[in-house]
Amino acid sequence: MPRCGLTVSILLVLAGLVVLSACDRPPRQDRLLYDFEMDSDLDRLHWKCRVLYALSPRHATHGRHSLRMDLYPSTYPGLSPRLTLHDWSGFESLCFDIFNPGPETLHITVRIDDREDTPPYADRYNRRFALRPGMNAVRIPIAGLTTSGTGRRLDPAGISRFLFFMVNPAKKRTLFVDYLRLCRKRS
C-alpha cells in the first residue's frame, strides 16, 4: 500500500508539472472575444445614446452574423464591449473585421486602457485607423500598445478596456463588425 501511495503521488506531481508547463506556453490558438452570433452578445456591450446595435446576416466573416452599428451624429459614437479576458499576454495581436458599406473612407479611433480608472488621453493607447469602402481587417500588435503621451508600454496582462469610436460624424454612419479576437503568436 505505501508503495502504491508513492506511485500515485509521483504521478500527481508529474501531472501537475505537465499542467504548469502547458500554462506557461504561449496560446496556440486565437481567442475569440466576440463573434456576434447570439442576442446575448448584445447584452455584453455598453449601450449609449445615439448608437444602435443589431445582429446582421450581412458581411459576417466568422459564423453567420456580424454586428451592425448605426452611429448617429454625436461626439464619440462607437463600440465598447465588456471584456471577459484581461490578460492579453502571449497573443500577438488584437484582430477584428469591419465592413464600411459607404463610398467614402471613414476613420475610427481605437482606445485601449490598462488601468481600471479612467486614464487621461496621454496614459492610454489611442490610434486612428482608416476604413476604406468594403471589408477592412484591423490588426493591432499587442507589443506595440504604448500610451499616446508618455510612451509607456501597456501591461498586456492587465487590459481593462477596449473601445473604438468615430469622432463627431456629421451624418449617420453604418459599420459592420465581426470576429473580434486575440490572434496567436506566429512561430
Binding site: K48, C49, L52, Y72
Partner: protein, 273 residues
C-alpha cells in the same frame, strides 16, 4: 435584571419588523413651499410633484398608492429624478408605471445610475426597442444633459436635466446649465445631489435630487463619510442652500441593497410656488 436582554431583544425585533414590513410601504406626502420670487412669478398657483428612486418591480405595492395620490393632487407638472428600476431590474414594470403619468405642463425626467445598470434596456426609456425612434409607451420627457422651456400664462421656466450616468453627470453640469443662462428661472433635475456642488453659486436655481434614500435608516454623517457615501454625508435628505441656489433631496420611494426603512418614510414631494 434577567428580563432586560429579553426586552431589548424584543424591542430590536419589533423595530426590524417595522423597518422591513411597515415603513417601506408607508408613503408620506411631503408639502413644501418654494421661496423664490422668479419661480413664484412663473408658477404661482401651480403644483409640482417630485418622485424619485422608485426602484419598481412588477408587484410593487407603492405604485398604486402613488398613482392614487397623483389623481387626487392633480399636479400641473411632475418631476422624476431617476432610479426607476432595481439594479439590472424590471424595465417593463418601470415603463408601465411611467405610461400612467401625465400632467398639463409635462412630466420631466432624468435617469439615475440604476437605470443604466442594464445599458441595453436603458435605451427603452427613450426609444422603441431596436430603433432610434422615440418611444410611444409614455409621455415622459427625458432630459439627458439637455434643457427645455415650459411656458405658463404668467411666464416661463427652464427645466434642465443632468444625466445620471456617473462621471458624465458631473462633467456636464456646468455645460448644461451654461446653455440656459437667459434670465429664466431654472429648475435643475439631477439624480445625484453632489452635482449641486458644480452649480455656480449665483445661478439662482432650484435643484431637485434623490439617490440617497435619506440613508433608509438614521445614521450619522461621519458614518456615511467613513464608508465612502459622500452624497449621504453631505446631502442626506431635505433642503440645502448655497449662495442663491436651493437643493431639495428627496428620500425617494423605493429601497436598494436592504429593503428596510426606519425613520425615513418613502415620500412623494409636492411643491407650491
Amino acid at each position: 435584571m434577567r428580563k432586560t436582554p429579553a426586552i431589548i431583544g424584543l424591542l430590536a425585533a419589533a423595530v426590524l419588523l417595522y423597518g422591513f414590513l411597515v415603513e417601506p410601504s408607508w408613503l408620506e406626502t411631503h408639502h413644501l413651499r418654494v421661496q423664490d420670487a422668479a419661480l413664484h412669478r412663473a408658477l404661482a398657483g401651480r403644483i409640482a410633484v417630485q418622485l424619485t428612486d422608485l426602484h419598481l418591480t412588477a408587484d410593487d405595492r407603492l405604485a398604486g398608492k402613488i398613482l392614487e395620490r397623483l389623481r387626487r393632487l392633480k399636479p400641473d407638472i411632475i418631476f422624476l429624478t431617476g432610479d426607476y428600476v432595481r439594479w439590472r431590474g424590471d424595465y417593463p414594470a418601470a415603463l408601465s408605471f411611467l405610461a400612467m403619468l401625465d400632467a398639463p405642463l409635462g412630466v420631466w425626467a432624468v435617469m439615475g445610475d440604476y437605470d443604466y445598470s442594464d445599458s441595453r434596456r436603458s435605451c427603452l426609456f427613450c426609444h422603441r426597442a431596436g430603433s432610434g425612434a422615440p418611444t410611444r409607451r409614455h409621455r415622459v420627457h427625458f432630459l439627458r444633459n439637455a434643457s427645455a422651456v415650459i411656458h405658463t400664462d404668467s411666464g416661463a421656466v427652464r427645466i434642465v436635466g443632468l444625466d445620471g450616468n456617473g462621471e458624465e453627470e458631473r462633467r456636464n453640469a456646468e455645460a448644461s446649465l451654461g446653455a440656459g443662462v437667459d434670465g429664466l428661472p431654472t429648475i435643475v433635475l439631477s439624480h445625484d445631489p453632489l452635482a449641486f456642488d458644480d452649480v455656480p453659486a449665483d445661478g439662482r436655481i432650484l435643484m431637485l435630487s434623490g439617490d440617497t434614500h435619506g440613508g433608509q435608516v438614521p445614521l450619522p454623517g461621519w458614518f456615511w463619510r467613513l464608508i465612502g457615501y459622500t452624497k449621504n454625508a453631505q446631502y442626506n435628505q431635505g433642503l440645502f442652500r448655497r449662495g442663491q441656489n436651493t437643493l431639495y433631496v428627496s428620500r425617494g420611494v423605493g429601497t436598494s441593497h436592504v429593503p428596510i426603512r426606519i425613520g425615513r418614510r418613502p415620500e412623494l414631494v409636492v411643491f407650491y410656488f
